[in-house]
Symmetry: C2
Subunit: 207 residues, 2 copies
DNA sequence: CCTCCAAGTCATCAAGCGTTGACATCCTAT
DNA sequence: ATAGGATGTCAACGCTTGATGACTTGGAGG
């Protein structure tokens, strides 16, 4: 973005490689992507991948580790968290979310390492924050079910390509989504709308 | 199971190859599995894969095409459909459901053909049946959201490995699941419970 | 202007891949 | 018993892959 004629720039090359890897891994998965593919997308030689990232696995690790900023999700009222997560999963104006990393990890989930990172990202990131909103009998299970709904929405939109969901905007989905979340988090959907939550001082989820 | 000394049996070899392929593709995805792997699991030579299935892609197609019998899901009362789908997604006694095919397709979803089949299987199979239960304003969207919840539950259990959901039985999930489904299908969760809520007389998913 | 280290490229390796055709082996029908 | 086709095995092919080390090129400092 700065200037094209810049050649021999370590930082820029590193970044270009990383971005190309994110796109490729997200859309095709670990095994279907070759180091040469990524290098060609970035416009450099494949050997640089090994110079900068050590191995193909290192490149994958680097391309999937920067998770979509949980701090961004934790700030704001806790009650609005599900809604914010919904917007993160179904971007309204085509905004670049961390959805690519989720896809890359899912499409590569045959490998134990990818699965482990997916697990970490899910449990420590979203589900822990959601559990704060859930009621007692089976709080974790409730939170994980909300997480499942979000995961399912994201997947159905991006990989299954289900027609109505893929075409819908976040605003259209939200009422239904909210109703489901209320039912899942509250014991029998008794409406836990209150203005003062029980001060959950979570600072969230470190990277 | 019949008898080990049976050698040179076309049907048995074909079946062994297919079963091995289903397992491998489900747990590792298309690209991570080699034809030699599958053949070794089945205890035969890799060349037989090409004799019987034409190509690796043909083997994959054969291993993922037999979808888990939608007829099996359609039989019984329509209102109990979501519950039956839940049981299919979270098998109670470790019964072999068609979950493996779903996993295989998802882990191979970098390939357009796998994606297309996933799309077909989802839309024509489950979502269409679910849409019959949904109310008017946005019937398809409602049905697809229920599908998303099911997909998310399955994935969170089998690949993400979220603790509470992975440990829970279908009976523990069902009340929460039912509440969410009711909220999603009905207009504002107006309670479409008509008959006895908890009398699931089904115990066995089909074969 | 020249030097020199970082940044980038090239040629190459060994291993594994999907795929094929020739070959060996067993079952069956006559 | 024997011929013949079905069933299974083997060795090899061309190609791509991840990875490595020697080489070239560029730009900044003296």
């Amino acid at each position: 973005m700065t200037d094209p004629p810049r050649r021999r720039d370590r930082a820029a090359t590193h970044a270009a490689l990383l971005e190309a890897a994110q796109r490729r891994f997200a859309s095709e998965g670990y095994d279907a992507v070759s180091v040469r593919d990524v290098a060609a997308d970035a416009g450099v030689d494949a050997a640089l991948v090994f110079r900068y990232f050590g191995s193909k696995a290192g490149l994958f690790r680097a391309a999937t580790s920067p998770l979509p900023a949980p701090a961004d999700l934790a700030d704001g009222s806790a009650e609005a968290l599900p809604g914010r997560l919904l917007r993160a999963v179904v971007p309204d104006a085509g905004q670049p979310v961390g959805e690519e990393q989720l896809l890359a990890l899912l499409r590569s989930s045959g490998h134990a390492e990818a699965r482990a990172q997916l697990h970490r990202q899910m449990c420590d990131g979203y589900v822990a924050a959601l559990a704060e909103l859930a009621e007692e009998p089976g709080r974790d299970l409730r939170a994980e079910l909300v997480g499942a709904l979000l995961l399912g929405i994201s997947l159905q939109r991006s990989v299954v390509g289900t027609p109505a969901l893929a075409a819908a905007s976040a605003a259209e989905i939200e009422p239904l989504f909210d109703a489901a979340v209320t039912a899942l988090l509250g014991s029998t959907g008794h409406g836990k709308r209150a203005d003062s939550p029980d001060s959950p001082e979570n600072q969230g989820a470190g990277q």
